[in-house]
Amino acid sequence: MAKDDTTDDRSLRKARFAPYLMTLPGLLCLYLFFLVPLVTLLKIALSVRKESGSSDVDFQWKWSNFSTAFTDFGPHLERAFIYAAIATVVCVVVAYPIAYFIAFKAGRWANLLLGLVMVPFFTSFLLRTIAWQSLFADDGPVLGIIDSLGLLGATDAIRLTTNGKIMNTPPAVIGGLIYNFMPFALLPIYVSLEKVQVGLIDAASDLYSSFSRTFRSVILPLSMPGVVAGTLLTFIPASGDFINNELLGNAAREPVIGGVIQSRFLDAGDFPTASAISLVLMVLITAAVLIYAKFLGTEDLA
């Protein structure tokens, strides 16, 4: 059997000079272009604009920028988090059986199927989203199928469609998010399922465990790290995303927080407010991640 993570520590050599030298350029990069910018972001978030309309700022320890960000943009934050949460749940629930299939049923085609899961990554994110414009269009195939099944009334009732349309409504945005982030949920779940030894499953069934019981007490717990990683890898980018809202939703009437941040920076030139919103988003996401990780009792976030 290959060495797994737990035996690693003993086999590690003590570092002398070379390994530190190997990590130095990378760490310097991360320090200069990840940590320092976050500090700058905080600094700008605590500044005020010199005069309205100008992009120059004065640093003043203005903590009230944060409370303003919260009160003025609460609905946008809430909308982004609701979209992201729904998309994440659907992604994980749908991705799990597919990952399970690849891990346990695909045999030697597993690598090919995994590769196919990655193919969307090699096609423009924006074009994939624009393709959904065609699919969700008023005369497009999705509504066509729902209509021919006579279900438009039912989908209207559960608000999946609005007056027989999908485009420019929240379900279209969430649909786009689900599609675009599905591989991020699927890949980590697959990785953890792949590590589950078939012997354990066979042992459980030899001992007369029903499949549902084997699943609940053997497979699911062992694949939990993958589920956690998949959830985070979906939820984090989805909550900051504004492309799906911009291309599939009604961004003018129902903006999400990511779009607000971008337009405040690039169109309005209101850097202090934009920086404050950006940091609020980051803090809220970090808090959500920590609560979630604690709730599930795992620290294996990577």
């Binding site: 050599r13 990840f34 700008i44 990554f121 423009s124």
Partner: protein, 281 residues
């Protein structure tokens, strides 16, 4: 050599357990449905390369034509933007792959002081929303008075690819058998020769995979790029800016070409891998 192992087919179809048969059928249906779902938009993109749009938007079907495939580079604005994206991706991903692989190798093989902190610093950019990374880099360049353009895009892309490469390579090299290096040294190999003949062949599949995926990440990035690009127009930026004005079918052709190349690499890679495994058995 790599960590992938083909699992024996599990004993789901064993006699005497008919209850699981329908479960397997449901699983097949879900899996096939899932793959169909993943490919529907990609097929849509490919189909629209044959569209002959009467309006400026290539989003609703008007008529069939081969014209777009005969002139894939007709729309210069998009071709130029794609070239910029490829240039950025090559520079950023080569730097990121070298620096990231070095970090991954050091961390996977040596016990280092501050290893946990290092790990955290590498993971953080991956768990930070793009919008936050983009805006923080924006404030940095604004604060320093740096003009945004090609090189600021390269810096941003290097950064997010660096973390990605380091994590991916680290996961891949963790299970490798480093005693082979000692064996080579014991047999009188020089360190340089050991490196080129033992170490490099061991790590190269993981490094290459990370490089290819980081290329995909870089070429496709819109959010971070929009903050740091200034006047530099990358392929995703051009698409996004055009999405509400005009979207010529040539864009779909360019994207389809990239997609087909990726599929070809994956299929050939899998077949070659399966054949190698069959030979080793």
């Amino acid at each position: 050599m790599t960590a992938t192992t083909t699992k024996p087919m599990s004993s789901t179809s064993s006699p005497g357990r008919p209850r699981r048969a329908w479960g397997t059928i449901v699983l097949w249906i879900v899996a096939i449905g899932g793959f169909v779902y993943l490919f529907i938009p990609l097929v849509t993109i490919a189909v629209f390369t044959f569209n002959d749009p009467e309006t400026k938007f290539n989003t609703s079907w008007q008529g069939f034509t081969f014209d777009n495939w005969l002139h894939p580079f007709k729309d210069k604005a998009f071709t130029d933007a794609l070239l910029v994206s490829v240039e950025v991706a090559m520079v950023a991903c080569i730097i990121a792959t070298i620096l990231g692989s070095l970090m991954a190798m050091a961390m996977a093989r040596y016990k280092m002081h501050g290893g946990a902190a290092m790990n955290l610093l590498i993971v953080l950019p991956l768990t930070t929303p793009e919008i936050v990374m983009g805006s923080s880099l924006f404030t940095l360049f604004f604060n320093l008075g740096v003009d945004r353009g090609f090189w600021t895009v390269v810096i941003a892309h290097t950064l997010f690819c660096l973390s990605f490469v380091a994590m991916t390579v680290k996961a891949r090299v963790r299970g490798l058998d480093w005693s082979l290096e000692d064996a080579a040294a014991d047999l009188g190999s020089t360190p340089a020769r050991t490196f080129w003949q033992i170490t490099v062949p061991m790590i190269i599949p993981g490094v290459l995979a990370a490089f290819l995926l980081s290329l995909a990440l870089s070429i496709d990035d819109y959010i971070i790029t929009s903050f740091v690009a200034g006047p530099t127009i990358t392929f995703p930026r051009r698409i996004f800016d055009s999405a509400r004005i005009a979207l010529p079918p040539q864009v779909h052709v360019l994207a389809t070409i990239i997609m087909l190349v990726a599929i070809a690499i994956i299929v050939i890679g899998t077949i070659a891998g399966n054949r190698r495994e069959a030979q080793n058995r």
